[in-house]
């Protein structure tokens, strides 16, 4: 029997693809005294890695998932555990054919070689498939099958060869101790290990293990059904595990791949069959393995008919039978993304969970980099476990979204598609009014935010000559022309926008100035009452966040950040608090509600309900003041993300309704309209060329490239300063540009509106790649109703980043001419910011 060391620098729990890879890359990064545990035997401890289908399609609509997948494929190839087979996604329906064209655009944007192919070409590649039901194919030659168990074994061996790794199989973790919020010990049935760093890579068991330390890993084990049918002579003749391309039959949400003499058929079409992490059988008690549960035939029957339609020839082979069938467990999260990074609840407790085979090696490399350097080369904002607010980590939420999300795995998911389950989690005090006004709500962080208001429909007539509808259903889905009408009413009169979803943190104490100086790129040691917009950089000098800091007093500040990133920002800020206790940090999000009041009549409205002087002399742009609005003490900020005169008004949550009613009533005679996030986040923002975290701003781009470098560099040190200085010296490898559409018309005469992630190409249709290998794509897209334009943003290298340059944008299989209207940050609308400063 092996003996465990009494202490370790890091304990990795779980020897599936994720755990092996993390252990391996930690060893490569110089970590020593690594212990890798699994409660099952090796090489297959019985988790999802042991029964996965093991094929990899690199193209995903998500840039970061594609990047992680490509990284993983390089690693599998290097380990010699990858067999390239090619793969085809096929469309049986028109809607899916459109989706494949969108996949093609993503392939181009992220630099993966793929092709749209005809049914005849599909039949050429997979001769035993009935191509008469195929409308279009999406062919990716680099699709491959890997051996994750062998890969894991090799990764362990390499780490062991460095003398860095102790592996202990058949070792069950019975507890994880913490001290003052940090991991201190891992208890097992073979002895205890003192450690301050633990990685939970336990797949479907992760929630149960994290719970031992008091953290939540928000995933639920969900069944994916698959069967093997064989023997099939056509497949047997290849004398290989995989001799034909893998087929994803996208419309019925399933795949078929050769596995030796068998055809494996897998499905994501059945109902979501969820399990409890505590209720998964032990290795001994399971019939096959803990994650290969008994097949529930009736759930799969419709899939058999679908498979038979596509592969009648081989599936009807006499003697070919269903030789293997399982309900295989995999992990599903509330948004379908992985759960990576340190848990927000417990220091030193890292998660490497909800990782697919295609992502395992890349996840290991990135997590090791993150644990070693505090930053990652690939932006992981949609994989960061800290992205979820507490309300999104509850079992209720996780199960509701997993139930709804399961069929989205192979589904056609519109980029703006909203979830239907477990809505109404976080409501602003204005919510009842918004409902009365017929708001269409979009969700962020569990908040319900009006995206547009039905009550504004009459504005469509008022602005009929300046608003065009979107004739194509896809372009108009999750969108309304009312957004543009609200925008125009704001620009001409005044609008009220519910911004309660902001995350807000109060930072105070004798160390507050020094602390925020270290966190922010901009100078924060300014006069009390100043509003400071600043990038927040990571250690590599990329964007961690961008937000506003208000100096409320000598030693007190408020941080106001976007609702989408508030949970991650909170972790970043609290992680860096000084240990001497000189700074107090309070999350006041749930105490504050916010209305944005903007438009040329904003001052008229506000003056009517406050006795405080809100003239431009008394209340200049970029400042904050405490004012009283109809008896409600309000923190007013004269700033604007939509580029118009007005204020963000922050009030005590319980007085919000009163604030709303007072402004709405006073606004009547000035033509006030409620406006949604469609205006705030897209139309108003794009006209002003404002950047959005997660779209334009991410770790892979720096402030110089984003046009957000400041004229002067402050003298205090701050995170990312050194790379920032280098970037300033070096100049941008690519510059964030704003482009206009020259022609919206597609080949059938329909006006189309390209959306974010569309690749930007040269006039000859070639990919544009900068010297760092980053391809050009649309980061944001939307209407600019005041300008009468449709705007696209994207990073372009020289010489394309020059105003007037003509380029192409690929969207849904067609290319549209565009022109660089602006290189850099100067807004197209009101370039001198006169309106905001009025």
């Amino acid at each position: 029997m092996n003996t465990l060391p009494g202490s370790a620098d890091v304990v990795v729990i779980g020897a599936g693809i994720a755990g092996n890879s993390v252990a391996h890359h930690l060893a490569q990064a110089g970590w020593r005294n690594i212990v890798l545990l699994d409660k099952g035997p090796l090489p297959d401890p019985g988790g999802s890695t042991g029964h996965a289908s093991n094929f990899i399609f690199p193209v995903d609509h998500s840039k970061e998932i594609t990047a992680i997948t490509v990284d993983s494929m390089h690693q599998y190839e290097k380990l010699g555990t990858m067999t390239t087979s090619g793969g085809i996604e096929i469309a049986r329906s028109e809607a899916r054919a459109e989706e494949l064209k969108r996949r093609m655009a993503s392939a181009t944007a992220w630099g993966i070689h793929s092709e749209l192919i005809s049914p005849a070409k599909v039949a050429e590649l997979v001769p035993f498939l009935d191509s008469s039901i195929v409308k279009l194919g999406f062919w990716t030659p680099s699709v491959a099958v890997v051996d994750p168990l062998q890969s894991g074994a090799l990764m362990r061996e390499q780490a062991q060869a460095l003398g860095a790794l102790t592996v202990s199989a058949n070792t069950e973790v019975t507890g994880i101790d913490t001290q003052r919020g940090r991991v201190s010990k891992v208890r097992t049935d073979r002895g205890d290990i003192d450690t301050d760093t633990v990685v939970v890579a336990c797949g479907v068991w992760s929630p149960r293990i994290a719970q031992m330390a008091g953290a939540r890993i928000p995933l639920v084990p969900v069944v994916h059904q698959l069967i093997d049918v064989g023997p099939i002579p056509e497949l047997e003749q290849t004398h290989s595990e995989i001799g034909y391309p893998i087929v994803r039959d996208m419309d019925p949400l399933m795949y078929e791949r050769q596995s030796g003499a068998d055809l494996e058929i897998g499905s994501y079409a059945h109902r979501a069959i969820m399990h409890e992490p505590d209720d998964i059988p032990s290795y001994e008690a399971a019939q096959l393995s803990p994650t290969q549960l008994p097949f529930t035939q009736e759930d799969f029957d419709p899939q058999m008919e679908d498979a038979l339609e596509l592969f009648p020839q081989i599936l009807n082979t006499p003697g070919a039978g269903i030789r293997h069938s399982i309900n295989g467990l995999l992990s599903l999260t509330p948004d379908g993304g992985p759960l990576l990074g340190e848990t927000p609840e417990v220091k030193g407790l890292w998660s490497a969970a909800s990782v697919w085979i295609k992502e395992g090696p890349g996840v290991g490399r990135l997590l090791a980099e993150w644990m070693t350097h505090g930053s990652t080369e690939i932006d992981l904002h949609s994989a960061d476990i800290a992205r979820f607010y507490p309300n999104q980590r509850t079992t209720t939420h996780v199960r509701a979204r997993a139930d709804e999300g399961f069929n989205k795995i192979y589904g056609i998911v519109h980029p703006n598609e909203q979830w239907e389950s477990n809505r109404g989690q976080r409501l602003s005090p204005f919510h009842p009014r918004e409902v009365e006004l017929g708001a269409t709500f979009f969700e962020v962080g569990g908040w319900e935010r009006p995206h547009w208001y039905e009550s504004n429909r009459p504005l469509l007539e008022e602005y009929a000559d300046r608003i065009s509808d979107r004739p194509h259903e896809w372009d108009a889905r999750w969108w309304s022309p009312i957004i543009n009408a609200e925008h125009l009413a704001m620009r001409e009169r005044v609008a009220m926008i519910d911004l309660t979803a902001f995350a807000q943190f109060d930072v105070s104490g004798p160390g507050a100035v020094d602390y925020l100086q270290r966190m922010a790129l901009a100078q924060v040691d300014k006069d009390v009452g100043k509003a400071i917009y600043t990038p927040i950089l990571d250690y590599y000098g990329g964007f961690r966040s961008d937000l506003t800091i208000i100096r409320l007093g000598t030693d007190s500040f408020r941080i106001i950040t976007g609702g989408a990133d508030g949970a991650r920002d909170k972790k970043w800020f609290t992680d860096h608090l000084p240990e001497d206790g000189s700074v107090a940090f309070a999350d006041v999000t749930s105490a504050v509600c916010t209305i944005g009041l903007w438009g040329p009549r904003a001052r008229d409205v506000l003056s009517a309900v406050t006795e405080d002087d809100v003239s431009s002399q008394a209340f200049p742009f970029g400042t904050a003041q405490h004012i009283t609005v109809d008896g409600v003490p309000t923190l007013a900020l004269k700033i604007s993300y939509v580029g118009d005169l007005g204020w963000e008004l922050h009030a005590p949550f319980e007085q919000g309704l009163r604030l709303w009613d007072a402004l709405f009533e006073a606004g009547r005679e000035h033509g006030v309209v409620p406006a949604g996030i469609g205006v705030y986040g897209t139309t108003g923002r794009l006209e002003k060329g404002y950047r959005l975290m997660g779209a334009e701003l991410e770790l892979e781009y720096n402030p110089v490239e984003a046009g957000l470098a400041l004229p002067k560099v402050k003298s205090p040190d701050f995170i990312g300063k050194e790379p920032y200085l280098k970037a300033r010296e070096h100049g941008p490898e690519a510059t964030l540009c704003t482009l206009t559409m020259d022609d919206h018309t597609d080949s059938t005469g329909v006006r189309r509106y390209p959306q974010a992630h569309s690749p930007i190409l040269t006039t000859t249709g070639d990919r544009i790649v900068d010297s760092k290998g980053r391809g050009a794509y649309v980061t944001s897209a939307g209407s600019a109703p005041t300008l009468g334009e449709y705007l696209l943003m994207g990073y372009l290298p020289a010489p394309y980043a020059t105003e007037g340059t003509g380029l192409l944008v690929e969207y849904m299989g067609e290319r549209y001419p565009v022109t660089v209207a602006r290189a850099g940050r100067t807004p197209l609308f009101d370039p001198d910011d006169e309106r905001m400063k009025a």
Binding site: P281, A286, Q287, P294, Q297, E298, M304, L308, G321, R323
Partner: protein
């Protein structure tokens, strides 16, 4: 010829069989259900006999409503009709009575089955009784442990082969007859997709016989003590060579 195969829904356990807290049953929370390997062979044999000689295969089970799953499995292997006797008892006497009564009903409607096949013993409790009890009740010849079936003249008799230590016993039984078969009789097929889709739609007949309780009841199930496998490490690499040679010599293999 008309063949009836009697099958039983049993749990498909893993390495370790768990027992419910009250100790009276197997804990099946994590388990799938199946039919035993003997019965798979019985179904396969029946399907092959009918393929060769013509006729009809009926599968019959006594069990809970969920046993429909096992009937459909047999149908997906090629059986033609399924009958479910809703019946909860584990007792072989009661089960045999329920089956006998149902067989009589079926035979009164469509004539006798030429051959009735059972698995030699059930995969879960292994009482070795039901087949013999049914045969006796129907007053038909029965042979157990069968690993070969020849139907030379389908209207009169059947040859049943049984292996013993010294060779093979061959029994000639007049039809109608009963046989309890063993794994190894044939290699059962995997159901085809078409077979499964056909089986899914096939109508099943359900009967609820009134039967008297039998004489057996479960008092308590107990886990047998786990066998300890002792592993002795003889050494590592070349250092182990001498010990290996000693061991092989001791075992008399070199």
């Amino acid at each position: 010829m008309r063949v009836l195969v009697c099958i039983k829904r049993v749990p498909a356990p893993g390495g370790k069989v768990l027992i419910t807290e009250d100790g009276t049953d197997i804990d099946t929370r994590h388990l799938g259900f199946t039919i035993g390997p003997h019965e798979e062979c019985a179904v396969e044999e029946a399907v092959q006999l009918v393929a060769e000689h013509g006729g009809h295969v009926t599968v019959l089970t006594a069990g809970p409503p969920e046993a429909e799953e096992q009937l459909r499995y047999a149908l997906s292997m090629g059986a033609n009709a399924g009958v479910l006797v809703e019946h909860g008892a584990h007792d072989p006497q009661a089960t045999a009575t329920a089956l006998t009564e149902t067989i009589r009903t079926l035979e009164s409607e469509d004539g006798n089955f030429d051959l009735i096949l059972f698995g030699n013993e059930s995969a879960d409790v292994g009482n070795y009784q039901v087949g013999i009890r049914v045969a006796c009740a129907l007053e038909r010849p029965v042979v157990g442990g069968i690993k070969g079936i020849d139907v030379a003249d389908e209207s009169t008799h059947v040859l049943l082969h049984r292996e013993n230590a010294d060779g093979v016993e061959v029994y000639q039984a007049p039809l109608p007859a009963v046989a309890a078969v063993k794994e190894g009789l044939n290699l059962p097929r995997y159901p085809s997709i078409q077979g499964r889709l056909r089986a899914k739609k096939a109508p099943l007949r359900t009967v609820q016989p009134k039967t008297a309780p039998g004489g057996l009841r479960t008092v308590q199930l107990r886990q047998p003590p786990e066998k300890q496998h002792e592993t002795v490490v003889l050494g590592y690499g070349a250092d182990a060579a001498d010990s290996v040679v000693d061991l092989l010599t001791e075992k008399g293999v070199v």
